[in-house]
Symmetry: C2
Subunit: 423 residues, 2 copies
């Protein structure tokens, strides 16, 4: 593929291709190094001869058939459910920061229910002056707000506590999405009901069989939590909690209760299953971390990675990835190609914004060398994403959740990639 290779030079990214004698003077239709003119540009193609398809048959479209790789996937052995209850975002194949709803990860505990807007009710009760029941239509009448937030399952990357297990960024890091939400501040509804002075927590539950009840401190509830009914412009998808879900910016995905049914103001936490049996981590000394609400700063190189090997040969390589922090905004992401010995600061697509995803890129001149590819995120609290060994030293070996350690991809000379750990 020498004729098609592109190499860097100081004067131009692809210029060395010319130095190697691979000029592509299209006007003269001269040959590429490996043979005659490129008919794909010199000849009139079928798609330029005939009318393409109309679009009126696709009032709501799907991606083109060639993009069939860009789908949610699951790992059959991961949970005990007969049907998979986790489906991962294909982050290996995306760029930018917005996650398309159609392939955005979801996690459920009793299936995705169909709950129509006319049937939807939201109760606010407990330690309030006025218990209230809202219809969906009621919710649409309150002053709206919007925000772009990442939603990450606390168990994202959880399998990797045990070692380099899953072979692909979709599987190691794909329990996450980033969407623009529109809804009403939870504070609005709590103010409407009137929180009593002894109300210090809320307990939120969904309308599905699992109910997924969680306790949240009142300070967070009154801060930036939102009852959202739009994601990326349109209604929530069924699997994302249609018609309304809780949005808890920067905090564990499990708190973002879907098909939100009830908010009870309480004087203490309920200690539900989802915050005792689950969503706690046993440390080496036998005690457990709990109320580990905030998603720590984290990043991953989404490509190249096992599902997306380097296929184009030597020369310019775009290393792309995502970074996010539940504590605030990402300020910097560094990338290493030597397993953390040396680091280069990556370009951020845009300045980091609080509790939403940041896209980073590093433009690398790859000469076919093996790489141990890593990224390391920093947020505006000064927090730095830790190595796996540093994290294990603190948390022990029995954690399930909150694995935000630096991820390593071993890129081989043929461009293929494998999930590995480095000390």
């Amino acid at each position: 593929m020498a004729g098609k290779s592109v190499t860097t030079s100081r004067r131009g990214i692809l210029r060395a291709g010319l130095a190697a004698g691979v000029a592509l003077p299209a006007a003269a239709l001269s040959a590429r190094a490996q043979g005659g003119p490129d008919p794909l540009i010199t000849e009139v193609q079928d798609w330029a001869r005939y009318t393409g398809e109309g679009v009126d048959e696709t009032p709501y479209g799907l991606p083109i058939r060639f993009e069939s790789d860009v789908v949610r996937r699951n790992v059959p052995w991961l949970t005990a459910d007969p049907i998979s209850s986790i489906n991962f975002t294909p982050i290996h194949a995306l760029d930018g920061t917005i996650t398309p709803a159609g392939c955005a990860f979801e996690r459920h505990h009793s299936g995705a229910i169909e709950l129509a807007k006319p049937d939807y009710r939201l109760m606010v009760n407990g330690l309030v002056d006025r218990p209230l029941v809202f219809t969906y239509e009621d919710l649409e009448r309150f002053p709206r707000h919007s925000g772009v937030y990442f939603c990450e399952c606390a168990a994202n990357t959880g399998m990797e506590w045990a070692g380099a297990q899953l072979n692909g960024s979709q599987f190691t890091h794909g329990m996450i999405h980033n969407m623009e939400y529109v809804g009403i501040p939870l504070k609005t509804l709590l103010d409407e009901a009137g929180v009593k002075p002894e109300g210090k927590w809320i307990y939120v539950e969904g309308a599905d069989a699992s109910s997924n009840g969680r306790s949240i401190p009142i300070e967070k509830a009154l801060d930036d939590c939102m009852v959202a009914f739009k994601a990326n412009g349109e209604a929530l998808r069924k699997e994302h909690g249609y018609p309304a879900r809780l949005v808890v910016p920067g905090w564990e995905g499990n708190l973002w209760v879907k098909w939100l049914r009830r908010i009870e103001v309480t004087d203490g936490p309920v200690e539900s299953r989802e915050e005792t049996s689950k969503y706690t981590d046993t440390l080496a000394d036998g005690t457990s971390r709990k109320w580990t609400w905030v998603m720590d700063a984290k990043s991953v190189v989404t490509a190249p990675s096992p599902q997306v090997p380097i296929r184009h040969g030597n020369g310019p390589l775009v290393i792309t990835g995502l970074a996010w922090s539940g504590r605030g905004a990402i300020t910097r992401v560094d990338v290493s190609v030597d397993g953390g010995k040396t680091w280069k600061t990556a370009r951020l697509a845009a300045p980091g914004q609080p509790m939403q995803m940041t896209r980073f890129w590093l433009d690398h001149d790859w000469q076919g060398e093996e790489m141990l590819l890593q990224s390391r995120a920093m947020d505006d609290t000064g927090y730095v994403q830790p190595t796996k060994s540093a994290l294990r030293a603190i948390r022990g070996e029995n954690s399930v959740y909150h694995n935000n350690a630096i991820q390593t991809w071993w890129i081989k000379q043929d461009g293929s990639a494998e999930n590995v750990e480095v000390s």
Copy 2:
């Protein structure tokens, strides 16, 4: 529906409902004004008894069936084509700013073609030092950039030059979308080829039969134009120009050539059909405006509007809409309920950003009165969206394009809405 009505009060948005004797004390399960307890919140529903659906059967999902209103629509008589060549975004039903790709407007001139990545070629030729031909794979190797931009057809709202014609914001203003693009700056490719000093324009064309060739000044080409291959995280949709299209921030949608095939550097404009026969406007004095590239500041109340009447009765009403400017950032949007006699400044969901959509809201206490609902946008150049009469005074009666006039919806006492003009 008196029991369900919600009215405003100084102390709480819904509090007056209580003053009217419509308390909803959920814990006591007491009756709503019109009858017994609300079983939708007091009784266990089917969706809480049984497991919902798995999501592994939807690797790429679609919206829930209840949202079947939120689709692209067309206006059969609008163009001469046997198949509709314009399909409008359902802006009446969306909120936020991101347009979901599946229902994002599209406009074609010879159908939407299927062009696979391996078959894709992009030529840069003309007044350049080195004519070049890029494969899709080549494009993915250059340094990437991203940006959120609106894309508006210059003919958006064009039908309304002739009067208040189409009954719905989707039809009057739906030739527009707003997406996050990832791609490479056009400057990168032009620098790679080396623009000669006499190169003052570019001519861009697509791979479809219509080719849709347009001339663009070199300054704009080297400024913020992008060859984009991702929209809202994933590949462009077929109908949006897969696998690569030109992005020309703030400028006419027609310039955003889809299935981008060739960029020729020229010393002058080509004067193609798309910039002579089309995309020009005849003024009253018989001369024509041409090279009307920049999309002027514009806004519209998306709801309430003819497709989205007010159904909930008196009290709090959310008036929602969109604003955008091709010259920069929206700084302010005003809303009038009396046909432009008086104005209130709306809330912006977020500070305006250059050449991307801004969402605005006005929270209004509607008492069943008739309204002549309008919005008026301002951008950071000081430009103010004009009235229809002011615009017609300047442009005459024979324009097709660039109708950015203030839109009026006549909201009637029963909450229905109609497209009207006011002087």
